[in-house]
């Protein structure tokens, strides 16, 4: 069997997307922790263009960019499919993954970096999530369907766990049961999926990691006044 390696960084939700997909398909892999402040020769060799993680290495060939890796995993190990068969449904799944890139990520970024405008940015972020809840999730339990998670659930996984830590550090809640009931329920259900539940970074460490990042931002903001 060909060797599978995953280069990662422990707090990264992008890395966990790949971990979940590999585990859901029962693929054995070696995990290699990278120090992004001191990138290894291996990382620079396997991802010379973007020099970031996650990077999947299969049979000596590397694949970078988490969403590209997810498609690769889906095609290489077709058991336990994570994308719909129907081409239009598949296109919808890819649409939502792209929505995550274009709308969710900048909203989280703005919300995390908002010093003094936390409430405003949290509201903007909520507006984005309302679209996801209404048009993406609808009445389903998961984005992948009522019984099964798919690539969209995996791609949105950061909302189910990482976001809670970020909310605690920023001090303003975004994903609340009162304003986003179905998406909030999705987050709780997603965390209970065995492969997800057993593969999450330590909450205490993650909280400390985000606290540290935000303190740096606050310091930078106050020193530039």
């Amino acid at each position: 069997m060909e060797e599978v390696k995953l280069l990662g960084f422990w707090p990264s939700s992008f890395v966990y997307r790949v971990i979940w997909a590999l585990k859901l398909k029962g693929v054995k892999f070696d995990y290699i922790e990278e120090d992004l402040s001191n990138k290894s020769e291996l990382l620079l060799q396997y991802n010379p263009v973007r020099k970031n993680v996650p990077v999947l290495v299969h049979g000596g060939k590397s694949i970078a960019e988490s969403l590209v890796i997810l498609e690769y995993i889906e095609e290489t190990w077709p058991q336990n499919p994570l994308l719909p068969k129907d081409p239009h449904e598949k296109a919808l799944a890819r649409f939502w993954m792209q929505f995550g890139v274009d709308k969710i990520r900048p909203a989280i970024f703005a919300y995390f970096r908002a010093i003094g405008e936390e409430g405003e940015k949290a509201k903007e972020f909520q507006e984005v999530l309302k679209i996801v809840e209404k048009q993406g999730l609808g009445d389903q339990k998961f984005f992948g369907g009522d019984n099964t998670i798919g690539l969209v659930d995996i791609a949105f996984g950061m909302l189910a766990y990482w976001l809670e830590c970020i909310e605690e550090v920023v001090g303003v809640k975004v994903l609340e049961a009162s304003s986003l009931p179905r998406l909030h329920a999705w987050a709780q259900n997603f965390k209970q999926v065995p492969v997800v539940k057993d593969n999450l970074p330590d909450r205490g460490k993650l909280l400390a990691h985000y606290k540290h990042s935000r303190e740096k931002l606050i310091l930078a903001a106050s020193s530039s006044q």
Binding site: P48, I63, E65, H88, R94, Q98
Partner: protein, 228 residues
């Protein structure tokens, strides 16, 4: 009979990607030109979330986001493939990686059109770095990003062949030159020679007029917004 409609807005490179894919595969489609300053009810119905083009409508079902549309076209009309076969998942991943790469780097290219002075210099420098990566890591020794034939990544890069020259002319910079980028320049030539592409390239003179107007408008509005 299958009904295929494409909503686009000339000269959007994202729209052209889809046109090229359909033309390369010989898919019959109806093209509907949208006025983005006055979006049609149909567009708003088919793409309510982003309200953007391109949108492909196949048998009444809409698909939006250009790279998502390209994947849909590839799967629905497998003749004249634009991705390596499923026997080569790494080749497929490579095409997707480079498509994402150029999409993530859209801003510096846009800045070439939207800025002047120091900001323009900075944008030109960034674009040069991007082209260097494409030349050395993307193309390498190959004729096309897809290998021997045009593939999805080539279509994604298509703006470099179709509209980049006009943008350079308007900005007064020459980044894509044969000395620094022989591979890319060869790629531009071969890309535009493909019969299906050749018949579907935006007219350079019309583009010049269009982008000149856009550039003036954008530079003026940025100047009005900036604080000295």
């Amino acid at each position: 009979m299958e009904e295929v409609k494409l909503f686009g807005a000339w000269p959007s490179p994202y729209g052209y990607r889809v046109i090229w894919a359909l033309e390369l595969k010989g898919v019959k489609y109806e093209y509907i030109e949208e006025d983005l300053s006055n979006k049609s009810d149909l567009l708003l119905q088919y793409n309510p979330i982003h309200k953007k083009i391109p949108v492909l409508v196949h048998n009444g079902k809409p698909i939006s986001e250009s790279h998502v549309i390209l994947e849909y076209i590839e799967e629905t009309w497998p003749g004249n493939p634009l991705l390596p076969s499923l026997e080569d998942p790494h080749g497929r991943a490579s095409a997707r990686f480079w498509t994402k790469f150029i999409d993530d780097k859209a801003l510096p290219f846009a800045m070439l059109l939207m800025t002047d002075g120091e900001e323009l210099e900075k944008a030109a420098k960034e674009v040069r770095e991007i082209l260097k990566i494409l030349e050395e890591q993307g193309l390498g020794e190959k004729d096309f990003f897809g290998g021997n034939e045009i593939g999805l990544a080539d279509l994604a890069m298509g703006l470099i062949a179709s509209s980049f020259g006009v943008i350079e002319e308007l900005a007064g910079v020459k980044v894509l030159n044969g000395d620094e980028f022989p591979g890319l320049c060869n790629w531009v030539k071969k890309f535009k020679e493909n019969p299906a592409i050749k018949k579907n390239l935006p007219d350079p003179d019309q583009m010049f007029v269009y982008y000149k107007q856009k550039r003036e408008m954008l530079i003026n509005s940025r100047a009005a917004l900036s604080y000295k």
